[in-house]
Symmetry: C3
Subunit: 140 residues, 3 copies
């Protein structure tokens, strides 16, 4: 019989950068006892995002960070929204260019992540923040 | 008992820019009577997109618009697809850089949107268009 | 009564570029017999992505490819992750800028794709690869 479960995760970031959150998410999915279904995550902020990226070479995370810093420069005079500092509006743009939600099927008892895929919370603000991620799981 | 509901929303845009659609979406979700579940939206076009962004300072929407206009210039000679004008192909690129769908869990009787998050239809064409968004809701 | 189905699709790409996969996906959805529900796709790689784009003028795919090649140049000295060649890290960035999953409601017996929308697997590596897409369908 199909059933569902929801949960709100809280993560403390250490400022700008990618934090892998695969483990706590996978533990919650496993605890549900479901073996086939769909996981959806949604980050409740507009200056952080969710991405699935390579979890092998840590250079990938550094390169992503450098690319986005160049593409969306902090303090760009184009931006009028500067209330919270030079990294405020760039954080919103980075969230629009990536995503605030993601969906991963649960197949054969585990999340369908590829061998080299991890789930990351990408903090776009320079300073540490507490971030909430709403999770929804449906399946059998 | 889990159940689902679908609906197709129609919105008339006034040309390029972000339109907040949180209210009609939330009203439809509330009318379902569901308190826990998952909402998915899908825009049936490739020159408009769906984003979750800050709903407080209107500068954010202007800044997003200016950033994308600079990143994907109208009339860029790189583009061969110009049948419908200089904003035609840039609209497709903007849709690829953002997204045409989004998913938001329904937790504790309401959409898990953060305090400052709103759902936006982003019209990428210069002229007004009628846009359709297919919605799916599943839950209890 | 709500039910679900999962499947893992395999596609062989011919190197960088967009491949339309609407047909095999739509055939699988039709075979389920469901007429109302939600389809979710997830590509199990971090150097390829899933996008919904125009399926009419083939120039759109060429323009998308040229735009992303200019935005994220192969061999950019910014990138330290070069183990698999000059197109390795750009492929990860392209995947972050687009998406590795997508969700489309099933309404009135068919996927809610617009008239000109197709589902595409976007191979970001220069050489051909075998790519897996996990699919989840829930509905009635």
């Amino acid at each position: 019989m199909l059933r569902q479960s929801t949960h709100v995760f809280t993560f403390d970031t250490r400022g700008r950068g990618l934090i892998e959150i695969t483990q706590p998410i996978a533990v919650w999915v496993a605890a549900s006892g479901m073996t086939q279904g769909l996981l959806t995550l949604f980050i409740r902020h507009t200056s952080a995002s969710l991405v699935v990226q390579e979890n092998a070479d840590p250079h990938v995370r550094g390169d992503l960070e450098r690319f986005f810093a160049r593409l969306v420069p902090d303090g760009d005079p184009l931006f009028l929204h500067r209330d919270e500092g030079k990294d405020d509006m760039p954080a919103h743009v980075r969230a629009a260019l990536t995503s605030v939600y993601l969906a991963i099927p649960l197949v054969g008892g585990r999340l369908a992540l590829g061998t080299w895929q991890g789930i990351y919370l990408w903090e776009h603000r320079l300073r540490p923040h507490r971030r909430e991620i709403a999770a929804h799981l449906i399946g059998v």
